[in-house]
Each structure stands twice: as structure tokens, then as C-alpha cells.
């Protein structure tokens, strides 16, 4: 089943580590943009190549989607549901920043069908929020979480970032413990990635701030996996943990190499074997859509073999890994034969495991997943 991603490129303030398409905007711009996104859905639905897609999820991400009015979110969801084919009850996620959501806001979007809210908590210490340049306090995180619970959001996720400049492993442990004490259904723990050209990358390069050492970050990661397991969270992907059955279906679709349609500026679509990418420029996006044109540019087409390899590196991000038989049937390649020694060497060295016909990263392998996956890509 396919996933639908809707990009809201607005936020109250640009975070120093963020390299997504987003930024503050005026109410008029937001309104025009959201109108354009709904229009894009209508245009997309008419395209024959998309007519066969059945959707199982909607993910409204950003930016900070909750910087737009609740009725705008509702109108996006409604348009999507009315325009495309959905199977069963779709998973509908909205990303939210703590300072932007009220209990009323959340109640309204839940009524419209939103059943998963992902709160950009990032940390449970004000020091961390300051280091990450966040626009909210720890109290606001807790308030937002309580509001989501009060609004009876069925699946609440907390997004956390660790390894920010100045963070000690102890500080991280405490934050994670606080997060778990709230009993969210889902927790994403992202090791901070310094993206080129972000403000934080500049500060680190200039020596103004210092990242934790590799040893410390390693310890933090170990703690994440051990602590969350003890607390009853299952790890299902390198950075994602949840209570049983509370996985994010939308994201799993990415790692299973499923089709997805991206709406909005900078959004990427994958309609096998082709990938498209919408223009990142807001004004250009609006102009194209209202001109009745597609905002997407062709990005790439993957041949069967390249798709297979991409499927391998994506699937191995998930703890359940790859079911070899299923992969052979789906892709026509026998993975073990295809990679030969490369895979067996890594099994021998303890980075991969093969049991019951399933190939997956070991704990050690997850730490150096790029080294492993770069041998398979």
C-alpha cells in the first residue's frame, strides 16, 4: 500500500540543525500554499500513472504542520481522503511542535481522522532545548503531550534528539527517562546529524560548540536500546521504538520500498521505478500548480538491480531485516548469491545475522550501519 506525504514548509523559527525546506511565513502565504497543495492533489489524481495507487497512510510533516490552523489540516486530510483511494482506516500522522498545539487544536484534528501525532519534543532538559535552538520549554512539551492524551490521539510519538553540543550521557539518560515516564506509544531517538550548511554545522566547525565524543555518543546509543527495551518498547528501526503494535506504518512503507506520493514544495514521490521531486521554491510551486502544471521534476529511475540494492539497504534499517525468500520472490535476486562473500564476511564478523531465513543487522551492526550498508548499496 502506498503512503501520502504532505509537506508543510512553515515553522515559527528555523532550528539551527534543520536542513529541511521550511521557514516562517505570513498567513496569506500559508493560505495560498495550502490551497495549492489541495490543488496539487486534484491534479495528481487525474494522472493515469497514479490511478492504480491505493493508500494506507497520510503523513503531514514539515516544517511544523501545526503552525497552520486546525481547519487547514482538516481540509488537507479531507481533500486527500476524498480524492484518492484509501484501503481500510488509514494511519494519519501530523507532526506537531509543543508550542503550537492546544487541547482544542488536537481535538479538532482527531475528529477529522488524525490518529497519530508526532511531537517534536527533542529533549526533556531546557539546556538541551536551548542547545538545539528550540522555541519551547520542557513544560510546553509535557503540556502538549497531555493535550494529545486528553484529545485521545491513539498513537502519540515523541521525537528526541541526542548527541547535541554539550550534552553528557547522564543528561541524555535523564531526558530519555523523563520521556518514557510519560508512556508515549512511540519514541524516535535520533542521533544528531550535522547537515552541511546548517547554522550548527558552522558553529561546530568554528569551534564555538563541541559535540560529545564518539565514545559518549556510543554510550548514549547503547543506553537508548537497553533502556527502551526494558521499558517495554520494541526497536523496529535504527531510530524508532514503540509499544507493541504501535509502529508507524507510513514510515515502514518507506523502508519496504513501497510507493509514495509527496505533495507540497520539496516533497518527493516514488512511483516505482521513478522518483520525482517537487520544486523546493514555495512561490514557484504555487505558480506551477495554479498554472495547472506539475510541480514535480523527474529525479531518477532505478533499474531492477538498483532497486533491489536500494530495497536491501532500506530493509536492513529495520530490526526485522530481510526475509530472504520473500526478497527473492519480489526482486528475482538471491541476496546471498548476489552479494556472496561480502555478506558472509559481515556475518562472520558479527555485523549481520542470518537466522530462520532472515538477514538483519546485529546490535554491533546497527552502530556502524553505514559501513555495512555501503558494502551492499
Amino acid at each position: 500500500m502506498a503512503g501520502m506525504y504532505i509537506h508543510i514548509p512553515f515553522c515559527t523559527k528555523k532550528c539551527p540543525y534543520c536542513d529541511f525546506v521550511s521557514g516562517p511565513a505570513s498567513p496569506e502565504t500559508k493560505k495560498r500554499y495550502l490551497h495549492a497543495v489541495r490543488q496539487e492533489m486534484l491534479l495528481a489524481a487525474e494522472r493515469p500513472m497514479l490511478s492504480g495507487l491505493h493508500f494506507g497512510s497520510i503523513f503531514i510533516g514539515g516544517g511544523t504542520p501545526t503552525t497552520v490552523q486546525a481547519e487547514e489540516i482538516i481540509s488537507l486530510v479531507d481533500t486527500a481522503l476524498e480524492t484518492f483511494l484509501f484501503s481500510g482506516t488509514p494511519e494519519i500522522t501530523v507532526e506537531a511542535n509543543p508550542e503550537t498545539v492546544s487541547p482544542a487544536y488536537l481535538r479538532e484534528i482527531v475528529c477529522a481522522g488524525v490518529n497519530r501525532v508526532s511531537i517534536g519534543a527533542q529533549d526533556f532538559a531546557d539546556k538541551g532545548l536551548a542547545a538545539l535552538g528550540r522555541n519551547h520549554t520542557v513544560d510546553q512539551v509535557v503540556a502538549a503531550y497531555d493535550a494529545a492524551r486528553a484529545a485521545k490521539v491513539p498513537n502519540v510519538n515523541l521525537d528526541l534528539i541526542y548527541g547535541w553540543p554539550g550534552q553528557s550521557p547522564e543528561e541524555w539518560m535523564k531526558s530519555l527517562e523523563t520521556a518514557v515516564s510519560l508512556e508515549p506509544d512511540h519514541i524516535s531517538c535520533y542521533e544528531l546529524t550535522l547537515e552541511d550548511c546548517t547554522a550548527m554545522a558552522g558553529e561546530v566547525a568554528a569551534g564555538q560548540v563541541v559535540l560529545p565524543s564518539e565514545r559518549e555518543v556510543y554510550a548514549m546509543t547503547e543506553f537508548v536500546e537497553e533502556f527502551l527495551q526494558e521499558a517495554g518498547y520494541e526497536q523496529y528501526e535504527i531510530s524508532n521504538f514503540c509499544k507493541p503494535g504501535m509502529e508507524c506504518r507510513h514510515n515502514i512503507n518507506y523502508w519496504e520500498n513501497g510507493a509514495y506520493l509527496g505533495m507540497g514544495a520539496g516533497a518527493v514521490s516514488f512511483v516505482p521505478p521513478k522518483r520525482f521531486e517537487n520544486t523546493e521554491k514555495l512561490s514557484r510551486f504555487i505558480e506551477l500548480i495554479f498554472g495547472g502544471k506539475r510541480a514535480s521534476m523527474y529525479a531518477e529511475t532505478l533499474g531492477p538491480e538498483a532497486r533491489f540494492r536500494e530495497a536491501v539497504i532500506l530493509a536492513l534499517r529495520m530490526n526485522r531485516g530481510i526475509e530472504l525468500r520473500k526478497f527473492r520472490l519480489r526482486w528475482g535476486y538471491d541476496l546471498m548469491l548476489y552479494y556472496g562473500d561480502r555478506v558472509s564476511e559481515m556475518i562472520g564478523a558479527g555485523f549481520l545475522n542470518l537466522t530462520g531465513g532472515r538477514l538483519y543487522l546485529t546490535r554491533q551492526g546497527r552502530r556502524v550501519a553505514n559501513s555495512v550498508l555501503s558494502r551492499l548499496v
Binding site: 514510515n251 523502508w255 529525479a299 553505514n370 558494502r375
Partner: protein, 599 residues
């Protein structure tokens, strides 16, 4: 049809590297209208792209100019450009042998350098008339008087009417041409005698076959003639006969005193060795021209393709190059670490670098080279003597009686304030000072005997930095001398990496081992596994370093919008690995092999 020898002037330009020889040649081409301004690229005679980039002349090149002098007569000037580096001194000497005179170009801001001297002595050996030219007089730091004095004091040439020139700006270049006509004698020689022509350069042209540059000393060379190479006795039929002006132009013949080229269907440039004499097969000369000596490689290194699949293209490239460059030698070799490649011999370090670059650039190969090594003479206990020019081929220590290494005699010219650091450097390199002379008030000639293997690594760079670039050197092979040498092996995760083995003096082995291992630790990236690097002499470990395994290397986020980008990052990582050599499970970057090039 034949040119009047009294109207011919065969000249060369001798100079130290960077003193402006090629620029002066360019100006002369322009003034004589040989090359139009539009055609004029900087340093026109440096044909190869590589030469232009490095600003040096690698292959000697020759060109015929037509010049109407102030006496109203028309002269033919054959300008023979020569390479300007110690590695190519033999080519220089043969080019000079084709001339009757030479312009000695000295940078008026610098003064006389080792190379100037070495080349001037060669010119004097060839009885050439020498015209001193002080170049770069346009620069504020030019001091023509001091430099003229140096020429008189050091070389012993009369520099009272040295020409003041700025080749860059064209100042004084016409005076240079007049001086050539007036001062340099026309070629001697007799067109009626049996043919005798000196080969001073040759190269392979895919359309023409081998192109041979010659100076006809006696007799006449014509198309269709059957000629004989006097040193090797091979005979060939002459194809085209012509001159460069500067583009090739066919002529009916070249007679005594003339310089030009001929083509013949000779497969290998090696069969037209520089310095050899050609003669008429039907009416041969009795004795060859003097000065022929076969060229011998002095420095060796292993060249391997980074990608083993490039072995065949490398083989082809090396073979082609061999045909083109008699000074270059090769033989196949294999390395446990690097796979299949070639052990190649070179005249010197610059020659080695140039060949490597040509292989990489002209043949689009990506190469790993092992540390340059010299050839050792090893006397075995069974009485046999073997030449070893690859450390990995060193016989077992218990079979060796003695090892002898080549020594060179080196002359170093240096301003006196740098004597200290230079002497220290030579001491470190096991050098023995034989002489030290003040050439002028501020400049000194140091003469050393040095083991050649101490020079082949980074001596030249070190010398330059110890003297802020002012020292210049010239060297000659001296003899083989026994020495206490050992083979130092590098082991990576217990596996010896043959391509990293070096032969060092026993007294330096510990230092060298520690240094090498430390260097390798810095250039080998952390891997998924621990990497242990050891230096060993025989079975004795003398140094050890470990590279801890990579603990964290993971992309936290990978969702729909950035799958392509993240995949490309992994692909980049994979490409990076491809450029490394896999030894066991350890990936070793090219820099590791280069790191042993420094002491």
C-alpha cells in the same frame, strides 16, 4: 638544394630550471616570424600538455628559424631546446653535441645554479661557443652586475658583453639573434663524406612511425636511403626527411651541418637510441661520432593499478611508453598486497614522477606506486651476486653475505647562510663531505658522497626547504659500496604488506619503523575492525600501533524525502572504499603507500 653551411647556426639554450629558457625560445620564434602571435601559446616548444603545466621541457625539441640579420643576409638558425633537469642530463649532452654554440641563460635575479653549471660544463665539453644572457632584467630584484661577476668567477667565462634580456617582455631579444649570427661558428663537416648523423631525440608517432631528430655532421641524408644505426647495427629505410619550422616540413635532403628529422618504420624508439650515429648502409662511415652511452635506470618503483581490472590497460600503456622512452624500463611483478603490476626503472625521481603522471593522464589510469628504491648488489653466501631493485625480492637474511648499495657524488650549490642546515641534512642521510669551496663571497659548493637510497625519497624537497629553495644540486653515480642494510617489513593485522617493505640502514631501522607505523596509523581510516600495524625486521617486531575500530557510523534518519540522498551518500562511501586496496579485511588508502615516500 642543400643549405650553405656558412649560413647555418645550430644553437642550444642552457639554463637552470625556471630561468626562462623556454620563454626566450618563444620570443625568438615570434621575432623571426616562425610562429604567429595568434599561434603563440606560452612556451610553444613544450609540446606536451604535461610539460606546459609543469613549466619544464621534458623532451628536447628542435625548430628551424629563418633570420635576416643586420648584415642583410639570411641565416638558418636551428634552435635546439633542451630539458633542464638533472634526470635528463644525458639528453641535454646529446642535444648540445648537435650544436656549435649555446646561449647560457641565467636569471639575473638569482645567479648561477648547479644546473647552469652542469649544463655549461657539458657545453664546454662539446667545444661550444657560449653567449651569456642575463634574463629577467625587468624584475626589480635583478642584479645583472653581480650575476655577470658570478659567471666570470664561477664558470670562468667572459661575461663583459653578456646580453641583458627580458624574455618575458621581449627586451633585448633581437640582440640575442645578432650575437648568434656573429659569434657562433657555422657547422664544420663535409657533405661529400660518408653520412654521419647524430641522433639527439626520437619519439613514436602513430602515423609516421618513429620520428628521429638528427644533426647531419657529414654527408647527406635523403628519403629512401638505407641507413644503419652504428651502435646496434640495425638497418632501416628512410621515409620522410624534413625540418620543423615549427611544423614538420618535408625537404629533399639534409646535408652536413643541418638539423632535422627523418621517419622510418622503426617499431621502437628504443632502436633509435639517443647519442647513436646513423650512417649510409651502402657507404658507411668508419667510426661513429663520440659520446654514445646506453641509458641505465637508477631508480625503481612498483606501479600497480588501483583497480585490478586495469592491469591490461596498464600493461599496454607501459609497453607503449617503453617504446617511446629509452630511459624507462619495466618488468612484470606481483605483490601479495597490490596484485599484478610492474617494477619500473627510471633515470631519476623527476623522470619517475613524469612517467607516472603520463600513465595516469594520457592513459587514464589510476595507479598506486610503491616507494622508490635503488638497485642493490647482493652477494649471496653461495658466491652468486644478484641485483635486487625491489625490497620484497630481497633474499632471506641467512643467505646474504653482503649487500652493496649505490653511492652518488653530489654537488650542492648554496648561499652560505644555509650551509648549516644542508650539512645537517646530508649527515642525517649518511653523507660524507669531500669538499667545500667558496665560489664567491656568498655562495658555496659542497661536495658529498651519499648513498643513493637516501636521496630517492624526499631528499630534494628537504634540501629545498632547508635552503628556502636556494640550493641546487647535480649528481652522478659513483660506485657500489657494502653497507649494513636490512629489510623493514610492515605488517597489517599480522599480514606482511610487501608493497610497504623498505630497505634501510640498520642504524636507522628502529626510527624508520616507528615513524612509518605512526604515519600509517594516521592515514589508514578507522574500520569496522581493529587494525594493528607493525614494523618488523625478520620475525622481530620493532614498532606497533593500533587503530581502534569505528564505533559509530550510522545515518539516524532515512525517510521518503531523502532516500535518494542517503543512498548516494552510501554509494559515495562505497566509491571511497573502491579506491582503497584491500589487504585481508583492511582497506588501505593510496596515501598509505605514499606515506612511505617521506622520511
Amino acid at each position: 638544394m642543400t643549405a650553405d653551411p656558412s649560413r647555418i647556426r645550430n644553437i642550444s639554450i642552457v639554463a637552470h630550471i625556471d630561468h626562462g629558457k623556454s620563454t626566450l625560445a618563444d620570443r625568438i620564434l615570434q621575432i623571426t616570424g616562425t610562429v604567429s602571435d595568434r599561434e603563440m601559446k606560452e612556451q610553444f616548444l613544450d609540446q606536451m600538455e604535461l610539460e606546459r603545466e609543469r613549466g619544464i621541457t621534458i623532451k628536447a625539441q628542435t625548430v628551424r628559424l629563418s633570420y635576416t640579420a643586420e648584415d642583410g643576409r639570411n641565416y638558418i638558425l636551428n634552435l635546439i631546446d633542451t630539458p633542464g633537469h638533472v634526470d635528463f642530463s644525458y639528453e641535454v649532452s646529446r642535444s648540445l653535441a648537435a650544436c656549435e654554440g649555446a646561449l647560457l641563460v641565467v636569471d639575473a635575479t638569482q645567479g648561477v645554479e648547479a644546473q647552469t653549471l652542469a649544463n655549461v660544463y657539458m657545453a664546454l665539453d662539446n667545444d661550444l661557443e657560449i653567449i651569456p644572457v642575463l634574463n629577467k632584467i625587468d624584475l626589480p630584484s635583478a642584479d645583472p652586475e653581480r650575476v655577470a661577476r658570478e659567471i666570470e668567477d664561477i664558470i670562468g667565462l667572459d661575461a663583459s658583453d653578456a646580453l641583458l634580456v627580458s624574455a618575458k617582455e621581449g627586451t633585448g631579444t633581437r640582440a640575442v639573434l645578432e650575437a648568434i649570427v656573429r659569434k657562433i661558428p657555422p657547422p664544420a663537416g663535409n657533405a661529400d663524406k660518408p653520412l654521419k648523423a647524430l641522433i639527439f631525440d626520437s619519439w613514436f608517432d602513430p602515423y609516421q612511425g618513429t620520428v628521429v631528430l638528427i644533426k647531419v655532421v657529414d654527408g647527406i641524408l635523403k628519403p629512401g636511403m638505407k641507413i644503419r644505426m652504428m651502435s646496434i647495427g640495425q638497418t632501416h629505410e628512410v621515409g620522410r626527411v624534413g625540418i620543423f619550422s615549427p611544423y614538420p616540413l618535408d625537404v629533399e635532403g639534409l646535408s652536413a651541418g643541418e638539423v632535422g628529422f627523418f621517419t622510418a618504420s622503426i617499431k621502437s624508439v628504443r632502436d633509435t637510441q639517443i647519442g647513436d650515429t646513423i650512417t649510409d648502409d651502402r657507404r658507411p662511415a668508419q667510426t661513429p661520432l663520440p659520446g654514445f652511452k646506453p641509458i641505465k635506470a637508477m631508480v625503481f618503483c612498483g606501479l600497480y593499478p588501483v583497480d585490478p581490472a586495469q592491469y591490461d590497460p596498464l600493461k599496454e600503456a607501459v609497453e607503449k611508453l617503453w617504446l617511446n622512452d629509452p630511459a624507462f624500463s619495466y618488468e612484470p611483478e606481483s605483490s601479495a598486497a597490490l596484485g599484478f603490476g610492474f617494477r619500473c626503472g627510471f633515470l631519476g625521481l623527476l623522470h619517475m614522477e613524469i612517467v607516472q603522471e603520463r600513465l595516469e593522464r594520457e592513459y587514464e589510469l589510476s595507479l598506486i606506486s610503491t616507494a622508490p628504491a635503488v638497485s642493490y648488489e647482493i652477494a649471496l653466501k653461495n658466491g652468486e651476486v644478484v641485483q635486487v631493485h625491489n625490497p620484497a625480492q630481497m633474499p632471506e637474511p641467512d643467505k646474504i653475505d653482503t649487500i652493496a648499495e649505490p653511492y652518488i657524488k653530489m654537488e650542492i650549490y648554496v648561499p652560505k647562510e644555509y650551509i648549516g642546515p644542508i650539512m645537517k641534512l646530508c649527515d642525517e642521510r649518511r653523507g660524507r663531505q669531500v669538499d667545500m669551496r667558496y665560489l664567491s663571497e656568498g655562495r658555496v659548493l659542497l661536495e658529498y658522497q651519499l648513498p643513493f637510497n637516501e636521496i630517492v625519497l624526499d631528499f630534494y624537497d628537504r634540501l629545498k626547504s632547508a635552503s628556502r629553495g636556494y640550493a641546487s644540486i647535480d649528481y652522478d653515480f659513483l660506485e657500489y659500496r657494502p653497507a649494513r642494510l636490512v629489510k623493514l617489513d610492515i605488517l597489517i593485522n599480522k599480514q606482511p604488506v610487501d608493497a610497504l617493505s623498505v630497505i634501510v640502514h640498520r642504524d636507522k631501522a628502529y626510527y624508520r619503523g616507528r615513524d612509518l607505523v605512526g604515519r600509517l596509523r594516521k592515514v589508514i581510516p578507522r574500520q569496522m575492525f581493529e587494525v594493528v600495524i607493525q614494523a618488523a625486521i625478520g620475525s622481530k617486531i620493532i614498532a606497533k600501533e593500533r587503530i581502534p575500530p569505528l564505533r559509530k557510523d550510522v545515518t539516524a534518519k532515512c525517510y521518503g524525502g531523502d532516500i535518494t540522498r542517503k543512498r548516494k551518500l552510501l554509494e559515495k562511501q562505497k566509491e571511497g572504499k573502491k579506491r582503497m586496496k584491500q589487504v585481508g579485511q583492511v582497506e588501505i588508502p593510496q596515501e598509505a603507500f605514499l606515506s612511505i615516500l617521506k622520511i
